[in-house]
Symmetry: C2
Subunit: 410 residues, 2 copies
């Protein structure tokens, strides 16, 4: 019997046509605020000069020779197909659970119901652990392990903890998660199955973050908080690459994104810039639209007030756990993307979120999480006020699976 | 701004390189027992002559011109890439939620722990509604709608009902699901979100099936019970096509499959036969290994007793809801595949299942359902008795997501 043992390495990431991706062209890290440069092969967190977010930078002039539509058509079917613009240097160090390449689902009945002809749902619930958080943590954990990290810690509103625990288990790392005491029960249960150490904290994700900052240095844990290390962001940006690739290297007219920490929108914006330099797309951009819950809307408030940084939101509350983020370190990056794209920022109520979740279930066959429901609720409002027209191609990000939350109907 | 409106049709099923698949080469239906032929463009159920299972048959000599490794590398990224050997004739009638092309994940730490160098997990939990049932029901519902059906009914141990409800909602069909009263709560909740009509039945899936047989004719519902119409099977068989494509058109040495109604194993076996005629693979086959729970093992008992049909299992019980199937209409097809492949059939206990679920979480970063745990528990036993050797390439089917069940640790 012919056995395909040699192909095992090739299927890491389920490559049907296992043409190898080009190697990472990572060159350095750069502060998004003051421009200070850092060595990308040392373990870095935020800018030591000004405390702001560091971005990974690549040799895009080199990458454009191998990262082409033609070569991509033959590569592995996960986010690591874009390896030239991802940070892991040794492909054998990639920890893959099948993250990325999530479906972009035409939702004709749901579109018609709100008067939009071309509505697509980017279903991030198909990722490992059921949310887009798998992209960022799959990337950050693979890179951290490559740089010698053996223990990680992070605060989480829920789904990031699940993803970190899964990738940490696959990598054989020690994982410490800190979550609000009232985190969705499913997230706590998931982390347990992956063998993570769980600490429940009184308060919200920023309070959990304070605990991590206090304890991580004492115990030698590497802090993989959102945008406090440079590589979660790099995993998230693959949503932007995929969107373009799935649309034949064009972009939609409108992207509606449920916004908590904001790495999704920030990551896609970075991806669009890189793709233009790579010659994969032109200069057109979608309108990037931030949706937040009425009970926690720091970015919407800053947008409305014309500010570049958002103040902490007091008494944050919403059923959309991933949007219950009272302060975002990347606030200025989110607001820049929204403004530069001609987008907007708006809030939706808890009732609107719930109704929209029900609509998506019945009209599209997608069991939306509250965050996903918020995008459809926002679309209804934007159509009503004429900000989205019937012939716009609209993409709603469904950032996670509905079944991990309390159901809208029970 | 360049808008990609024209590409909306192309992204049905998220085609990055939207080369169209060839059309279906469906020719007729054929009884697996008596060989009687039926018109594939009429609505059929089982053989009206002998009551056994009908198989869809294709013009494989025609299909082999277009269904090639080269053409496949450019097609949509879901199970509909194999359209020549699927039954929907008009591609615009495909109801797609992103089913299939699930990851085949190298599980090195979990393999090493049991002494197997090359262990792969086929993670079917990444399908819509979190289980492999999406393949069969996506296919059956798309085809039923194409043939004019407006209302469907089915009995289910849980996950099939969720999948039917989601695809029925996307298609705009009336969906009637009948489940045991003690079905996992998550499945009932999911069906509710998709707007299905739910009837809870005292007893097991076969009792629910009796209800469907009683009520469907009265109400004009089309019965999409497993193997009681010919097309669920066709969706399931795409697991076999994918396995070969993901392994570079070879097959593994061993496939361990958690067996309830058995359409997965039966479907893959049919796929292997078709692929050989298509020139995609040779005559080698994996050992097909059935695992069932000690509390419900009709196929294992029939295998051990050398029988071709299985008797109904009395007082079936196991936490693996998908394996709590006391009688399977395709019993002879399952047993034929196991015997012809040189495979075997074995049981595992509830404790073994639970321990294996915990192992997969901690060693592979996969939150296994009980059915998936059963495959790893079976692997441990097979290695211990020398039936699987350390250099075998082994694939364990993880048929659904763990979070839909009571957790192994809480």
């Amino acid at each position: 019997m012919t056995t395909p043992r040699d192909s095992l390495a090739a299927v890491a990431g389920q490559a049907a046509s296992p043409a190898p991706a080009g190697l990472s062209t990572l060159t350095h890290l750069e502060c998004t605020n003051c421009g200070e440069r850092y060595d990308a092969d040392a373990l870095n967190t935020v800018c030591s000069a000004c405390g702001r977010v560091l971005y990974a930078r690549y040799d895009l002039e080199k990458a454009r020779y191998t990262l082409t539509p033609e070569s991509l058509s033959r590569r592995r079917w996960d986010m690591w197909r874009y390896q030239e613009v991802l940070p892991v240097r040794d492909p054998s160090r990639i920890i893959s659970l099948g993250e990325g390449m999530t479906p972009l689902i035409p939702a004709r009945r749901a579109g018609k119901a709100v008067g939009v002809d071309n509505l697509l749902l980017k279903d991030e619930g198909k990722n490992p652990t059921g949310s887009f958080k798998a992209r960022g943590l799959g990337c950050a954990i693979s890179r951290a392990a490559e740089l010698g990290v053996e223990a990680i810690a992070l605060p989480s509103a829920g789904n990031a903890a699940s993803a970190a625990s899964a990738y940490g288990a696959a990598a054989g790392l020690d994982v410490q998660v800190f979550m609000p005491r009232d985190v969705p029960e499913t997230n706590r249960i998931e982390c347990l199955q992956y063998g993570a150490n769980i600490t429940l904290v009184d308060g919200l994700i920023n309070d959990a973050g304070a605990k991590v900052r206090e304890l991580a240095p004492q115990h030698g844990w590497f802090d993989v908080s959102t945008l406090k290390e440079p590589y979660r962001q790099e995993g998230k940006k693959t949503m932007g690459y995929e969107l373009a690739e799935q649309l034949g290297w064009t972009l939609p007219d409108v992207v509606i994104y449920p916004t908590g920490g904001g790495t999704g929108i920030v990551g896609m914006w970075k991806a669009f810039e890189e793709m233009e330099v790579l010659g994969l797309i032109g200069s057109a951009r979608p309108k990037m639209i931030v949706v937040q819950a009425e009970g926690c809307a720091p970015i919407v408030r800053a947008y409305d007030n014309g500010e570049r940084h958002a103040e902490v939101w007091q008494n944050a509350h919403t059923a959309a756990a991933g949007m219950r983020v009272p302060v975002a370190i990347g606030d200025y990056l989110i607001l820049d993307a929204v403004r530069q794209s001609g987008g907007t920022a708006l809030t939706v109520s808890e009732d609107e979120i719930r109704d929209a979740q029900i609509d998506l279930g019945r009209l599209a066959g997608i069991y939306a999480a509250p965050e996903g429901g918020a995008t459809y609720a926002a679309l209804k409002k934007l159509v009503a006020r004429g900000a989205v027209s019937s012939d716009d191609l609209v993409v709603l990000f469904q950032t996670g699976m509905g079944i991990k939350y309390d159901p809208p109907i029970s």
